[in-house]
Amino acid sequence: MAELTQLTLTQALDGLRHKKFSATELTQAHLDTIATRNPTLNAYITLNAEGALAAANAADTTPGDGKLLHGIPLGIKDLFCTKGLRSTAASKMLENFIPPYESQVTQNLLDHGAIFLGKLNLDEFAMGSANITSAYGVVKSPLKGNNDNELCRVPGGSSGGSAAALAAHLCLGATGTDTGGSIRQPAAFCGVVGLKPTYGRCSRWGIVAFASSLDQAGPMARTVEDTAILMQAMAGYDAKDSTSVNVPVPDYRATLSRGVRGLKIGIPKEYQMDGMAPEIVAAWQRGEQVLREAGAEIIPVSLPHTQYALACYYIIAPAEASSNLARYDGVRYGLRVPADNLNDMYSFTRAAGFGEEVQSRILIGTYILSSGYYDAYYKKAQQVRALIARDFTEAFQKVDVLLTPTAPSEAFRLGEKQDDPITMYLNDVFTVPASLAGVPALSVPFGLSPNGLPLGLQVIGRGFDEQTVLAVGKVLESTNV
């Protein structure tokens, strides 16, 4: 029944509703595909085969009334705590960590009848842009360029397992998290859709924290409509997350096909950067053309502080990470390297449990927050962040959404861009500004590079206006060739 994995999430819901197949058949088809392909791709860290089949059986024997995802098999990024199911954050530090509770977002998905196939690979603690920092091995993109003899492309990161699993049909939908582009950049690299919602739209409770003022959970899927359905199930106020915002969640699917006629689409001139691949520029211009032809008005805008966003991010994110990751001390959960005294136990545990990139960011963050440097780095970055956010506020007085590329290139090869941390960080140059401003942003596949690899366009919207972002994405998707 491998053809069941070829369905979109929307088609699968329809098939289940009309009893064309059962949730058990649908789940088994995915487990079979995972068994065949995951050994090569390494998209899943932990499989939940038994649990998934039990949940599928339950879905087949109970009515799905009102549930948005009744009987739908999903992959869950291994940054979400799942009760009774190992949750590693792709780190050795949490190799044996079995959460005694469920994250709020995954609980929302379970309440809507979703089935969890397993836990998806990522960069360690979501720190990376190529899914090469996982303690459980790199993830390979299932996509090949025209001249690639074998699978050699990165899936992007940090939600690389989620994007690769979707592209290889190892799940119908997936969760991701995005701190500086971790949903959008892998979505672009793997030719799938990814939405970073407005900060505060989805609960962060039970998600392993990286940089708390930026972290946001969001949906990833193969179509914009699938993404909207997942978003509907994931979003909502949660009193357990003090930054969760108590505003009504609209019906995302209802407004999905309303088109772009009369919408004002901003093209920020600062996103035209030196050294951008020509195919990225071409896709961006074609996207502009498609929206204009669909009735939108294209307006050039300026976000003058864009060039400082990456530097700002690489101060704020490590600073918050160094604080968040202080909890991994070998005392209450996670790895412990025994030692004669407490201090050595901390130091040995953290040296053994964290990989190179994570250690780097903790060290930088500790330096930035240390006495005498706080004002020069952290406070300065928070001031620049305010200016970046103000750029967006001012732009959104003139336009309804912004259209930009998602990433500065197609998916690169494993082993590339690893000589220097800054080269890797530059992957996030177009995604980081929206993260700093907290506004929603969608990556939608749009065209192919000359190598035959997918490219993505990014639609950035006003805070809590995911509806417009999705509607614009839907128009771009409908013309994607």
Partner: protein, 129 residues
């Protein structure tokens, strides 16, 4: 091995804070500048971060972190006079909750991932002389 059993994470946190203030009272005289960031800075921040960094790694890590600091240094070009630092994108004020117990009562679940436990407590190496 002598053990000290701590009844709550709060105690542990307090002890850690005490140790930090005893051990790490080195103050900086030079202000933020990537050039002054050297191997001895790395050894010091590794100690503050409680990461045992092998001496052979120090030059490699120093070079890597210098590159990152050199990159973020560009922010000094931005005029931020009078700009209020932004600590959160949420415009809502942080909610207050009623001061009542809403959760708990399952010590087994709380301790289920403990690397070492005894009689319902976390076990750590000896911390007082």
């Amino acid at each position: 091995m002598l053990i000290v059993i701590l009844s709550a994470a709060k105690n542990l946190k307090l002890r850690k804070i005490l140790r930090y203030t005893q051990d790490d009272s080195i103050s900086y005289t030079d202000k933020g500048n990537a050039m002054s960031f050297n191997e001895s800075t790395v050894r010091h921040i590794a100690k503050l971060s409680r990461i045992a960094l092998p001496e052979t790694q120090v030059p490699i890590v120093t070079e890597r972190l210098q590159k990152i600091l050199g990159f973020v240094e560009q922010l000094s070009a931005v005029d931020t006079t009078g700009v209020v630092p932004m600590s959160s994108v949420s415009h809502v004020t942080l909610p207050r909750r009623a001061d009542v117990v809403t959760d708990g009562g399952y010590p087994e679940a709380v301790l289920s991932n403990a690397p070492e436990k005894l009689h319902g407590f976390y076990v750590v190496p000896k911390v007082v002389g």
